[in-house]
């Protein structure tokens, strides 16, 4: 079992965040190449989608200097996914959260999911890809050992709210205010969302899990009912006064 597996680990600073790769499979040449490719892919996504780079495709598109057709195909894919997420979330996820084109709320999770898929296609089936605290898991940490993901407590640094146990492929995303101050805005008012301290969502794939976590966080008080009706996703929320709530199926993943 793991005695024969050295695994492979990598940390990359990109998109203004830390991405870490934890690969428990045998690091074959194919897996190493896939890791290089996944890292390269993250940088490429950053080039195309960074709203901090005035010359990025997304910035130029936002300023109306180019048309969608002039952008790489990934841009169309992301715009489509954003439109889908906006629809499912009743507009609580917005691609223009502060008035300008900014799909960042979806792109990071999408990038992590893509990196995870690149590894998987190369034969790495037991992996954890973490994009600044939003995580895509595949397979197992070790044979017969599930991955265990701690959920950081938004109000008590260093403490965990719970530990999510992933018995199979799983995405875990947390949206919150604590780490960078209030940085998720209510798309309907343009003001920071403050009804929750953090919201953690588990789901099958990170792109939508992360995006729905952001939408639910912005939604605040109405998030619980919305998430209860969202098939395949379960949530844990911490309120600013330290209270907690969970959707009914969350117990399958954590206490």
């Amino acid at each position: 079992m793991s005695d024969t597996t050295a695994g492979l680990r990598h940390v990359e600073h990109v998109m203004g965040s830390v991405f870490s790769f934890d690969i428990r499979d045998e690091p074959t040449p194919a897996v190493r190449r896939a890791l290089d490719e996944a890292v390269h892919h993250l940088h490429r996504i950053d080039e195309v989608f960074s709203t901090y780079r005035p010359d990025s495709c997304i910035s130029r598109l936002g300023r109306g200097e180019i048309r969608r057709e002039d952008c790489p195909s990934e841009v169309l894919e992301v715009l489509f996914l954003c439109a889908h997420a906006a629809r499912v979330s009743d507009g609580w996820f917005s691609i223009v959260p502060e008035g300008t084109l900014d799909p960042s709320g979806l792109v990071k999770g999408w990038a992590v999911e893509a990196a995870s898929r690149i590894l998987h296609e190369a034969g790495a089936h037991d992996t954890c890809v973490n994009g600044g605290g939003d995580i895509q898991i595949r397979g197992r940490a070790a044979p017969a050992t599930p991955w265990r993901i701690g959920v950081a407590h938004p109000l008590r640094p260093g403490e965990l709210v719970t530990v999510v146990t992933a018995h199979d492929d799983l995405a875990v995303a947390t949206s919150g205010t604590a780490e960078r101050g209030a940085h998720i805005v209510d798309p309907f008012t343009g003001r920071p969302a403050t009804a929750l301290a953090s919201l953690t969502l588990v789901g099958p794939r990170l792109t939508l899990t992360d995006t729905y976590a952001t939408a639910a966080f912005a939604r605040g008080d109405g998030a619980r009912d919305w998430l209860e009706g969202l098939h395949g996703y379960e949530a844990l929320a911490v309120t600013p006064d330290g209270g907690e709530w969970r959707t009914t199926g969350f117990h399958r993943y954590g206490s």
């Binding site: 050295a6 605290g133 780490e179």
Partner: protein, 140 residues
């Protein structure tokens, strides 16, 4: 032995994940480290990954950051800051609390037996990067 390596490297990504979480905490001066008894949760079976390893100096916009990590049987027992940016009073105050806390967290999370941490993101970039390079030396 290989198993020990696995356990050890498991810790390293965890620490980096943890460090990526903290708010507005700028790596600070040599306030260093928490040495704390770490309950053992798995038998590592061997004693590789023991020693103190110095990370690469990393340039950040606040200045250069460099840390060293002490590893015992593939587990982190202390993190020490060797170089940190010049600091004003406010930063000094933040970092005097932040660094011991980050170290405690890293150590505590190991004993919680988890592989990664989910939380809203923030990057203590230089700290995390230098720490990772120290851990890479410790385990590879």
């Amino acid at each position: 032995m290989r198993r020990a390596v696995l356990v050890g490297t498991g810790s390293s990504a965890l620490v980096v994940a943890l460090l990526a979480l903290k708010p507005h905490q700028i790596p600070g001066p040599d306030t260093s480290a928490a040495r704390s008894p770490v309950p053992s949760h798995t038998s590592t079976g061997a004693s590789t990954g023991t020693g103190t390893y110095t990370g690469d100096p990393v340039d950040t916009r606040y200045g250069t950051v460099q840390v060293a990590v002490t590893v015992t049987d593939g587990r982190i027992t202390a993190v020490k800051v060797i170089q940190a940016p010049d600091q004003n009073g406010r930063d000094q105050q933040i970092s005097s609390q932040a660094l011991p806390q980050l170290t405690q967290e890293a150590i505590k999370a190991q004993s919680a037996h988890i592989d990664a941490v989910s939380g809203a993101s923030y990057t203590s970039q230089g700290y995390a990067q230098s720490l990772q390079s120290a851990l890479d030396q410790a385990h590879v």
